[in-house]
């Protein structure tokens, strides 16, 4: 089999249309559609007393105004709980429109449909809502104090409480020669894709069918949700994810209130309706993540070897829990990284607050866990006066210990078992790349020049490719072109390219001949979605398995046509040929024709095909038992459990002795995601992840005041890094193939962002000689920290 395409850094198939402005993003569709806009709560917690739309009714162009009272059927019920969990004892989800009470600023109260968005907003301005404010619960402290409740029937504000323990951690810590207790906190951030959410719905009254375009990470699940919510037979619902302008997690949540309401209104009105989320709406009514507070107690020996680890943390899940408790579960398990913790106990509480809901943002609980674990490693090294890399080294799971069973349950409900990885090798590569052993001298030299330079490093392990399954369909057309379809969506990860590379490699056709369709339920109906770094692992392997079926069938048919043993055949550049026999060959296109007994001579290939005699003879049916017409097949990949990628990052920073500004001098990444389908795309994923890591460590934070008002709901004050803030990333790869899947690959999507907070906290601590226990950190905070530690103020 040719593997020419697999592993090649080819240019992306999707780029020509995107760079030329020919992309089709949600708002590029439905030019004539009515526009929806929403009246959203200005209060964090209030009773909705009255909604008065009278003043809006004379707005020219207004079509409809809806409040909760107008909703019917299952649309009037709370939105679904997507991922129940036994530990989530008090799940609560919102109504599509507020039903009497609003629980966060931005919660939708009324929906307006009008001729265009300008007019819709005019109408929203004129709708007067009377609220009776209720005491808001904002922040982890207030949630724990529980003087007030977000939900009346959850008086302690605790949505979930979970404990996992392997061995007796507390006893092990008590008996350990060395002990530490650390308090570590990460603040709120958000996925913040540059394209917000959006929904465009078309109802065909005659056909009783609904087509919905939505900027989502899972079109197949939105389809199922809409069929159920709207009472439309599922085979009458089509959901298409067009080009999606970034997701990073927030678009995996479904159905969003607007995803239900826009199609609902389109059916009621018999008109096309479109809603395009603006930036303000995205800040206050989509989802946030990261806010967690951790207490780590650790016992270790004089070499820094962990003997017991006891982690308790509090997770702020916002006002509702539609996506369950995936984030804290991931923190509680992935926190362990590449290390053997000795005895391990982890306990978390997930808390309701009157703030925007919390659902996975790229990294999904791992940045918090890695921050807790890696700060702990740094603290151990400091306590023992040992090299930080060395302390990590002694705690590594060794390659020969793979597969390694932690004895815990992972996010997919299956045992946390690492399948592969060579952590010492990863660290060694990183130390070489960044020049770890020389940096101490360089740092000292800088000191003598009055400069503050520091280096930090952080390791992580990332479970990728969670199940339950993905599928793909591969078809060879009679012109030799190959069409690949997967229900899995794409938001810029280059799936059209990498899946084409996989199919081309498996089939032996030029990649130019392969077209890929993603996220369109008209083309493929069963899929889970793009999240948890699972697309390449899940759909990549599904595409490979489907292509292998097609190839086997092609060889069988070609074998009959050429009267040779299929085992002697190979496929090169779309031609099936007999190994070592120059002229004995048949184009895959012709084989595609032969695969269909109904052989009208529509095209040249069909005519050429008539020269071959296949199909057995008159004593067998044209389509034999177990066979199907056409050169096509579906393939499914469903792994026994996740596969685990890993990596090590290092940052070299310089802090200004006067202004406390942080300058990133270098950022190095060593990454192991198994075999690379397209190294260029993997690098791109790492660069983008690192940029979000920089943002999360030094710039991005969502600030609520005590009243539950989000104070920085704009790009003015929520500081996503520009090019001027992001360093050039130096990367190196290690490829330890996963034994769990046919292609030996592991996910790469989230990796870049995971160690960001940990690595910068370590580097800044190193430069400043200060202990940093909460991130992000701003120059002002660093300067204040200096003042606290050195009373005379700035260093």
């Amino acid at each position: 089999m040719t593997t020419r395409m697999f592993g090649e850094p080819i240019a992306r198939r999707e780029d020509p249309r995107l760079v030329a402005g020919d992309g089709r993003f949600l708002d590029d569709l439905g030019a004539g559609a009515l526009a929806a806009a929403f009246v959203r709560s200005p209060h964090a917690h209030a009773r909705v007393v009255d909604v008065d739309a009278a003043a809006a009714l004379d707005v020219d162009g207004l079509v409809a105004v809806y409040t909760y009272e107008d909703l019917d059927g299952r649309v009037a019920e709370p939105l679904p709980l997507l991922i129940p969990h036994p530990s989530l004892h008090a799940p609560r989800t919102a109504y599509p429109l507020a039903n009497g009470v609003v629980r966060h600023v931005g919660e939708p109260v009324a929906m307006v449909v009008a001729s265009d968005r300008y007019v819709a907003e005019d109408a929203c301005d004129r709708i007067r809502v009377a609220y009776a404010p209720l005491p808001p619960v904002v922040g982890i402290d207030a949630a724990v104090r529980a003087e007030h409740a977000v939900h009346d029937d959850v008086p302690d504000n605790v949505a979930a409480h979970m404990v996992q323990e392997v061995g007796d951690a507390r006893a092990a810590i008590a008996a350990a020669p060395q002990r530490l207790e650390l308090h570590l906190q990460i603040e709120r951030s958000a996925s913040m894709p540059l394209e917000g959410k959006g929904v465009y719905a078309r109802w065909d009254a005659a056909d009783r069918s609904l087509r919905v375009y939505t900027s989502t990470q899972t079109s197949t699940s939105v389809r199922m949700a809409l069929a159920a919510k709207l009472g439309v037979p599922v085979d009458r619902v089509e959901v298409v994810a067009p080009d999606v302008g970034g997701g990073f997690g927030v678009k995996i949540v479904h159905p969003w209130p607007e995803e239900v309401l826009v199609p609902w209104a389109a059916i009621r009105l018999g008109r096309e309706v479109k809603w395009v989320e603006d930036r303000r709406e995205h800040f206050v009514s989509s989802a946030h993540e990261r806010g967690q507070r951790h207490t780590v107690r650790v016992g270790f020996d004089d070499d820094g070897r962990l003997l017991g680890l006891d982690v308790e943390f509090l997770h702020d899940n916002g006002a509702y829990t539609p996506y369950g408790i995936i984030v804290p579960i991931i923190t509680s398990t992935q926190l362990l990284g590449p290390y053997k913790p000795g005895a391990y106990r982890v306990e978390f509480r997930s808390l309701y607050t009157n703030t925007v809901i919390v659902t996975p943002y790229r990294g999904a609980g791992r940045p918090q866990g890695v921050f807790a674990m890696e700060r702990t490693m740094d603290a151990i090294a400091e306590r023992l006066g040992r090299d930080r890399a060395e302390v990590r080294e002694v705690n590594f799971i060794r390659p020969e210990e793979m597969p390694y069973d932690h004895g815990l349950i992972f996010q997919d409900g299956r045992p946390l078992v690492y399948d592969s990885g060579d952590y010492p090798a990863s660290l060694a590569k990183l130390k070489k790349l960044v020049g770890w052993d020389e940096l101490a001298a360089e740092r000292a030299q800088a000191r003598t020049e009055g400069r503050r330079v520091g280096i930090g490093l952080a390791c992580y392990v990332e479970g990728t490719g969670v199940g339950p399954y993905e599928g793909a369909h591969v078809r060879v057309e009679t012109n030799g072109k190959v069409v690949v379809a997967t229900g899995l969506t794409t938001q810029g990860q280059g799936h059209e390219t990498v899946f084409a590379q996989v199919a081309a490699s498996e089939l032996g056709v030029p990649v130019e001949d392969v077209a890929v369709v993603t996220g369109d339920t008209r083309r493929f109906k069963y899929a889970v979605g793009t999240f948890a770094s699972r697309a390449a692992v899940m759909s990549g392997n599904a595409v490979a398995l489907a292509a292998r079926k097609v190839r086997a069938k092609a060889l069988r048919i070609a074998g009959e046509a050429l009267e040779v043993d299929p085992a002697d055949l190979e496929v090169v550049d779309g031609i099936v040929r007999v190994r070592g026999v120059p002229d004995a060959e048949i184009p895959l296109a012709t084989v595609a024709v032969l695969a269909n007994p109904l052989r009208y001579a529509f095209d040249e290939e069909a005519k050429r095909a008539t020269q071959f005699a296949v199909g057995g003879g008159t004593d067998v049916p044209p389509v034999r038992d177990g066979d199907e017409p056409g050169l096509e097949a579906a393939g499914w990949y469903s792994p026994i459990r996740s596969t685990f990628a890993n990596g090590v990052h290092a940052a070299v920073v310089e802090t200004d002795p006067e202004t406390a500004e942080v300058k990133i001098l270098r950022y190095c990444v060593v990454h192991d995601c198994g075999r690379l389908i397209n190294p260029r795309i993997v690098e791109g994923q790492i660069h983008g992840g690192v940029a979000q890591g920089v943002g999360g460590a030094l710039y991005e934070r969502l600030v609520y005041d005590e009243h539950g008002q989000l104070l920085n709901a704009s790009f003015m004050d929520f500081l996503m890094p520009y090019a001027s803030e992001v360093p050039t990333v130096e990367t190196d790869h290690l490829e330890t193939p996963s034994p769990l899947n046919p292609l030996g690959i592991k996910g790469a999507g989230e990796a870049g962002v995971i160690p960001g907070a940990a690595v910068f906290a370590a580097a800044i601590s190193d430069a400043e000689g200060l202990w940093i226990d909460r991130m992000p950190i701003s120059p002002s905070e660093l300067w204040e920290l200096r003042r606290q530690t050195t009373p005379k103020g700035d260093g």
């Binding site: 303000r280 704009s714 790009f715 003015m716």
Partner: protein
């Protein structure tokens, strides 16, 4: 967010306190106040047009006087709503006799700013509110010292507290109109804050939030 300030008023405490219920004074002294309606004992609805430069908006507000401890303290509960958002402020006001029959007034406001205005940053709010309140007190003290004209007579029928009555502001000379000082000062201070929050501040804050320079 909290806004607090002080002022020395050239009138005795009792007079300051007594004047609180004179809507005719209030409608003249509350910055940008166009219409004021007593809707009950110590409760008023008002329409405030506020803004900075030419960027102005009209907002509906309520002011209620509560927790009265004559003649030294009370709380003003002010709230307002306009398209840009909502504001509510509890302004606790303390009055104490100063030298030579003056009154030392201190106010401390805790305000909640919601809606769009709540989300686009609050860096300037305190500064703007404080500045406006200061201007207000300064102007009112001009009135106290006779630098500004005295108020017109209270419309008949309005004097009976608790009776619904509507008051509209007469055309005003530039600068702050007069009024029975204490009333203007106290309720005016709250309304100034309200006006700033729902009006002037909104536009200021918006301009601050506006991504970039003009």
């Amino acid at each position: 967010m909290r806004v607090s300030g002080n002022a020395t008023l050239h009138a005795p405490v009792e007079k300051v306190y007594a004047a609180l219920n004179d809507p005719a004074v209030l409608v003249r002294t509350i910055p940008g106040c166009e219409r004021l309606e007593r809707v009950g004992e110590d409760a008023y609805k008002l329409t405030v047009t506020a803004g900075v430069a030419s960027v102005r908006g009209t907002y509906a507000g309520d002011v209620r006087i509560a927790d009265q401890r004559p003649p030294n303290a009370f709380v003003l509960k002010a709230s307002g709503a306009g398209a840009p958002g909502t504001v509510s402020a509890d302004v606790s006001v303390q009055l104490a006799a100063g030298d030579d029959g003056t009154t030392e007034l201190a106010y401390d406001a805790d305000a909640v700013v919601g809606g769009m205005i709540g989300g686009v940053g609050q860096r300037m709010l305190v500064g703007v509110a404080t500045r406006t309140a200061d201007q207000f007190f300064a102007a009112v003290d001009d009135v106290l010292t006779g630098a500004a004209p005295a108020p017109e007579a209270v419309p008949a029928g309005a004097a009976a507290a608790g009776q619904p009555a509507v008051f509209t502001a007469p055309p005003r000379a530039p600068g702050l109109p007069g009024g029975q000082l204490a009333a203007g000062v106290v309720l005016g201070a709250a309304a100034a804050l309200l006006g700033v929050l729902v009006g002037g501040w909104v536009t200021r804050r918006a301009a601050r939030a506006a991504a970039r320079r003009p």
